[in-house]
Symmetry: D2
Subunit: 322 residues, 4 copies
Amino acid sequence: MQALEPPVRVRLLRYTRDGPLLVAAAARITVSKKPVERAMEMGPGEVEKWIRELVRRGHGSPLEHAVYTFEAECSRVCSHQLVRHRLASYTQQSMRYTEGFLRSMALKVCSIMGVGSCPERPTSANDYRVYETVLREAAGRLEGPDGSGWALIVAASRGYVFNPSWSPETMARVARAYLGATAEYYGLLAGRVPREDARMVIPQAVRTRIVFTMNARELLESFLPLRMCSHAQWEIRMLAWGVWRELMKVHPEIFRYAGPRCILEENRVRPEPCSLEQYLNGDCDFTIPRCPEMVPKPGIRSCLRYAAESSRASAGPRGLGG
Amino acid sequence: MQALEPPVRVRLLRYTRDGPLLVAAAARITVSKKPVERAMEMGPGEVEKWIRELVRRGHGSPLEHAVYTFEAECSRVCSHQLVRHRLASYTQQSMRYTEGFLRSMALKVCSIMGVGSCPERPTSANDYRVYETVLREAAGRLEGPDGSGWALIVAASRGYVFNPSWSPETMARVARAYLGATAEYYGLLAGRVPREDARMVIPQAVRTRIVFTMNARELLESFLPLRMCSHAQWEIRMLAWGVWRELMKVHPEIFRYAGPRCILEENRVRPEPCSLEQYLNGDCDFTIPRCPEMVPKPGIRSCLRYAAESSRASAGPRGLGG
Amino acid sequence: MQALEPPVRVRLLRYTRDGPLLVAAAARITVSKKPVERAMEMGPGEVEKWIRELVRRGHGSPLEHAVYTFEAECSRVCSHQLVRHRLASYTQQSMRYTEGFLRSMALKVCSIMGVGSCPERPTSANDYRVYETVLREAAGRLEGPDGSGWALIVAASRGYVFNPSWSPETMARVARAYLGATAEYYGLLAGRVPREDARMVIPQAVRTRIVFTMNARELLESFLPLRMCSHAQWEIRMLAWGVWRELMKVHPEIFRYAGPRCILEENRVRPEPCSLEQYLNGDCDFTIPRCPEMVPKPGIRSCLRYAAESSRASAGPRGLGG
Amino acid sequence: MQALEPPVRVRLLRYTRDGPLLVAAAARITVSKKPVERAMEMGPGEVEKWIRELVRRGHGSPLEHAVYTFEAECSRVCSHQLVRHRLASYTQQSMRYTEGFLRSMALKVCSIMGVGSCPERPTSANDYRVYETVLREAAGRLEGPDGSGWALIVAASRGYVFNPSWSPETMARVARAYLGATAEYYGLLAGRVPREDARMVIPQAVRTRIVFTMNARELLESFLPLRMCSHAQWEIRMLAWGVWRELMKVHPEIFRYAGPRCILEENRVRPEPCSLEQYLNGDCDFTIPRCPEMVPKPGIRSCLRYAAESSRASAGPRGLGG
C-alpha cells in the first residue's frame, strides 16, 4: 500500500560554519584579553567544555552567533504556530499569488480518476471547472467503500496534512472534506473570484512551504523546549523533532542538550547538564519535583519518551523536492 | 435585509496615558539635562512640535514608549499575517481547546432551520451529530434559490469572514462551503477526533479573536504603512484602517501622520510632514517620483483614496461582544 | 555629615492601567469563546489565580500586555548593561549635545571652593577655563587631609556614581579622579574640542539619565532574574531592586513572584509558586539542587538575602528632580 | 613617525554561504510552488535581479536569511551606541573580569619609560603600584615638550581611542588624561578595590572588543543607514563604513545598495535603485527634496562624499590580533 506524504518535512539549508567553535570563542572573549582569532585555536574538547558551561549556567547570548536556516513543509495550522516565535526570520509561500501544493494534488487526482483532460497550467474558467468537477467526484467516491479510496487519500496528502495516527475511517472522512473544499476553491476561481479570496474556503490543513532562520539560543531556549514537548500539538512537535534531528547531524556539541522544557529546566539546576539521549535512556534522572507542564518527577521520562517516539514520522523518503 | 457580521472588528482596550506627552518628554531628555518630570510640564503645542520633528526626521525610538493594546476579530488568514509583525505581543483564542465562534454560528443555523434539539453545550457524540446534520442540511439549502438563503449566509458570517464586495452568488457559494466544512468538523468531533485534529478541515476564513499590543513606532513605521496600503490584502487592510481610526480618537498628535508606505516615505523627504487627511483631501501633494509599491507620483493620491474608501466597513454596529 | 547622592535612582512614570486584569483577561480568551470585555469582569481573586497559573507554567506571553515606563539615573557603566536587554525601549540623555550632570556638579564645586566667578551657562573658552581651573584645584585638595574633602566628594556624586560601600579613602581617591577628569573635559571644551570628542576623557562612572519601557514578561523572565541576582554588578542590581520596589507599589499581583534566577527556576518546578517575600522570610524552601549561578540549595536563601539587603540604597530622599 | 592604532577595527568572521542566492531563492518561493532547492538553481544574473527588486520595493524580510558575524574593536562610547541596535547579537569583553587592553598599554609605556620592573602578569598590590607609578610619570611627561611624547601617545592608543583628526596638542592632552586615569585605576587595584569598581574611573574612550551578528536586513535598513551617515558620531561612522567594506568583499550583490539614510530613502522612490558607488561618483542623482537629516537635495552628494572620505581610517595594518 502506497504511503501518505509525511505531514511535515524539514531540511537544514544553511548554517554557520564551525558554529560551536564560534560560540565557544565568543564566550571566551568575555573573560579574556585575546582576540577571537586566538580563541578560535581551541580544540574540540575545549569547545565542548565551553558550551557545556553555557548550558549549565543558562548563559545563552554567545549561542546567538550560530544561525540555522531551514526549509519546511507543514500545514498552515502549524505555520501559524511557528511564526509566533518572534526571534526568527520567515519567508513563506503566498496563497495570494499561487495555488501552493493544490495543483499538484489536483493533477494526481485527475490521473487516479482517469480524467485525461486536466490542463497542466489552468488559466481559463473552463480549466478550473474541470478541476472542480474531478475533485468533487473524487470526494464523492470517498463516501462509500471503493478500491480507489486509498489512492485518493494519498493524493490528498500532497495538498493537505494528515495525522498518521488517524484511523482509516477518519482519513477517508478528512480526505473527502479536503477534496470537497478544494473543488469549491477551483469553482470560485472558475467564477473569477481572485485567488486571495477563493483561498478563504481552503481548510487550514493545507500544506505550505516556509523558509525560516533561527539562532542556536532561540532554538535551545524557546522553540525546541516548547515544541518538542508532549503537550505541543502533534504537527509542530514533529516539526521540532525534525529540526532537532537535522541539527544533531551538524552540531551535536550544542544540540545534544536540547529537548522539551523539562530538560531545559533540569539542566539549569542539576550539578552537570545531561544530554537528551541520557535522559531518554535513563543514564540521567530528573531531580525537579515536576516539569513546567505539571508532570510530576516520576512521570517525566515516560512523557519524554512518548514525545520522542510519536514524532518519528517527520522525515519522508522523497525529500522536499516532491 | 439583515446585515452580515463585519469581517473585521477592532477595539482599543488600553493605551499609555498622555502617550504623546511621554514621547515628547522622552525625546527632549536626549538633548537636555533636566529630568523627565520637568520636561513633562510642556504644553500641547510643544508636544505637537516635538512629535512632528520626530516624524520629519524618522527618529522613531521615543515613539516606542507609547503603547496600545487592541482586541480584534478577523479570520485566521488575517491573524496569520498579523502575527508576522514581530515587534508586538499577541494572545489568541485557541482552537485546540475551544470551538471559537463556530458553536454560536451553529446554534443560529439551528434556529433558522427550525431545529429545536440543538444542545447549547454539546458534549456527547449525539450532540455533535445533531450539529453535523443541521449544518449539512443548511449547506444543501444554499444550493438552490431559497428564501432562507440570506439568513443562513448571515448566520455563517458569525463563524467565518465574508468579503463585503462579493456578489450574492459568491456569498452563497462560499457560505455553503463554510457550513459544509463545519458539518464535517462536528462529524469528526462526533467520531471522537480531538478538537485540535478536527479543526484541520475548518476553512481558513474561520473567525478568531486576538489581543495584541504594539507601540507607536511599530504602528507608524511598519504595521500601518504595510497594511493600510491598497496593495495589502483587503481584510488586514480593513483591520489596519480600523486600528488607525481607534488611534485617532485618543492620540491624533501622533497618528495623524500615519498612513500607507507612500506617506511614511514622503514625510521623510519633504520640508514639512503632512497628515493623512492633508494628502487625502489634496492639501499636500506628493513629491516622490513613485511609491515603494511602484505607483507613479500622479497616481498615488487616488490609490490612497481607494485604500481609505474600501476599508470603511471595519467597524460594525454591534461591538466586539457579539 | 551630608549624604552622597544615591548611585541609582529609579521612578515608575507610566504603566498599563489594570495591568493584572488585562493580563488575566488575555490569558483567559485563549481558552474561551467570550470577548475580552466579558473576561474583564472577573474579580481580584480570579485575576490572582490566573496570574499565579501563568507563573507556575512559565506561560509568559499574556504578561507582555502590561507595560511599564521608568526614568532612571545611573552611571554609563550601568546604562551600557541595561541597554543590552533588547526587548525594551530606551531614550537616553546624549553627551554629544549636553554636559549631562557635569555642569551642576561643577557649579557645586565652585561654591564649595568659594569661587564666585563660575558662569551658570558657560559658552566661551574663558568660561570653560574657569571650570577647568576650579575642578583641578578641587581635585588637588582631595589629595591631603582637608576639611572640605567630604563636601567635594558629595559634590562629585552629583556627576558621578560612588559605591556606598567604599571606604572613605577610596571615596576620596575616586572623587579626585572624577574631578580631575572633568577638569580635563572642560579644558578640552575650552580648546574648542567638540563635546562629543571631549567626553572621551570622562570616566565611565559619569551619571546619565535614561527612560526605558519594558513589559511584565521581560521584567519577570529576564531583566529582574539576571539583575536582582547577587552575581550581578552592584549598581545594576540596585537599579533592578529599585525597579522591583516601584512595581510592587502598583501591581503586586504580578511582581510578588519576581526575583533573581533562583526564584524564576524554582517557581517553575515546585507544586505552587511562592513569592519573593516567602523565600526571603523562610516560608518557602528551595527544592532545586542548585541555582543557575551554581549556589547549592542550602546557600540560596542567604545569597538571596544578601542581594536584597545590599540593594536598599537605591531610593534617594531627593527624588529624580535633583 | 610611528602610527597610532586605528580607533576602530572590524573584521568579518563568518557569514552565510551563498547568502545572496539564499535570499533570492527565499524571495522566489513566496510566489512559486517550487521548493527552495529548485529555486537555488538560478544563475548569478537572476540572483542580482531578485535582490534589486527587494531593494526597490523595500521588501526586506528575505534579506534576513543572510547573516554576518563581525569582530570589532572600538571605544566603549562606540560600543554603547552599537548595542542599541536590538535586532542583533552581541558578546563583549567584560571589564568586571579583565583589564581589557589596558595591561598591554601599560607594558608598552613601561618599555618606553625604560622601566624594566613591570610584571607581565600583575597580581600583588606591589605589582599594581609599579603600573600606577609608571603611568603617572608618563602622564606627567606629556605635559611639556618631550621627545618621548609621541611614543607615549602611540602607546596610549593601544588602550584608548583617539580621533585621528585631532591636533597634536589635543592628542597629547587627551593621552595625558588617559594615562593619568589608568594610573588611578591601577592605584585602586593596588588598594584591593575590585576590578568592577576600579573601572569606574576609566575614561569612556577605553578600547573594547565585541563580537556581533546582524542579518542583511538590519544592516541595510537600520545599522548602515543610521551609522554611515555624516551625522553619526565619527567613531561609529568609521565602524559602519568598515563593516560595509567587509561586506562588499563577499556579497556585493546585496551591499552595493547600502549607504546612509539618503540612499535608503532614495532607492525606494526612484524608478531603479542605484548603488552607493553610483551616487558617490555622480552616475545617479538624488530626486528626493531633502534627506531625512534635513540636507537639501543639492547638498546630499557632497555630504555623502564627506562621510565616505572621513571614514577611511578604519582598517589598520596590524589586523585585529594586535
